[in-house]
Symmetry: C2
Subunit: 189 residues, 2 copies
């Protein structure tokens, strides 16, 4: 009656790839390394993925889905009132930045690392940002702002700016700065 040891190889490979790409960078991690750390044969990897590039794209895609689910859950947990939820976005960022494993936004990083704009990962990064903007728009709309879309676009600048600043400064202070700016623009919207 034992469960098969949860051994979906494909998922295992994606887990390892996602983790390594995030921690060390896409270019810095080779296929052999992913093979070794996932304890799988090289042919198994190439049986499930056409190439490293498609593995990159699929890992990014799944990473995005998980990240956004976690992000939304954290925001919704921190606040109930619509207006507060918007500010809770920045509290969530702050907690993320303070995490030991924080290495920036995987999708910003991917867009930077994948210099070729035609790489599939670039579209996934762009889609991720669009999803986040849509989420912000849903919050601003829920809070009753007119021009919620415009406001969401402004808030997203703050989110991305805070992430980049956190990486470069090695501190979560940028989240608090961004929160303050967000409060200002909400009060004047």
């Amino acid at each position: 009656m034992e469960m098969p040891p949860s051994t979906n190889l494909r998922e295992k490979i994606l887990d390892v790839a996602t983790d390594l790409f995030y921690r060390e960078g896409i270019h810095a991690v080779g296929v052999d390394r992913i093979v070794k750390e996932s304890g799988v044969a090289k042919m198994t990897l190439y049986n499930h993925f056409d190439s490293k590039d498609t593995l990159i794209a699929e890992a990014l895609k799944r990473h995005g889905e998980q990240w956004r689910a976690d992000f939304v859950a954290s925001v919704e947990k921190k606040a109930k009132a619509p207006w507060d939820k918007i500010l809770a976005v920045f509290d969530t960022l702050e907690a993320w930045f303070d995490g030991k494993e924080f290495r920036g936004c995987a999708f910003i990083n991917a867009a930077v690392e994948l210099a070729d704009t035609r790489h599939a990962g670039r579209k996934i990064s762009a889609d991720h940002m669009k999803h986040i903007r849509d989420y912000l728009a849903s919050l601003t709309q829920e809070a009753g702002f007119k021009r919620s879309g415009e406001l969401a676009g402004q808030l997203q600048l703050l989110v991305q700016g805070a992430i980049v600043a956190a990486v470069i400064e090695g501190s979560s202070d940028s989240a608090r700065r961004a929160r303050k700016v967000a409060a200002t623009i909400l009060e004047n919207a």
Copy 2:
């Protein structure tokens, strides 16, 4: 009486390295490529630089000095009044984003690509951001704002956020959004 053909090899190597690193990424460009495109012998490169890592650091350093000089010159050219200069920062960004060769901020990119926080390039990136923040602080102080430092920190979030958004969206619209937010926070400071 001819001038030596301006052949400072060291500068030539830095020029080529800076350009290639920016356009294609630090990891994606090999030493052999830099050697070939600068038309110099490999030993000459290693005679002037200890390693690729030190070349990266020196190229970044020089790139930063040039970039900031150009940036400040552009801002000062676009506006004379202190308050206007602050907004001209975002007009300068917009023009930069629209340039064909725009590939983001070399220092954000470097911080992302150089996963090891101990890499010399990481400090140069951090210093670059500090220089920009200092410049913004000089503008806000000149414009007579109290707490000019705090304001500068907020403006910088917008600058960095706009740059990242421009890369991912492939558009200069983020500069206009950031400008609008900047105007809002200036009016309420």
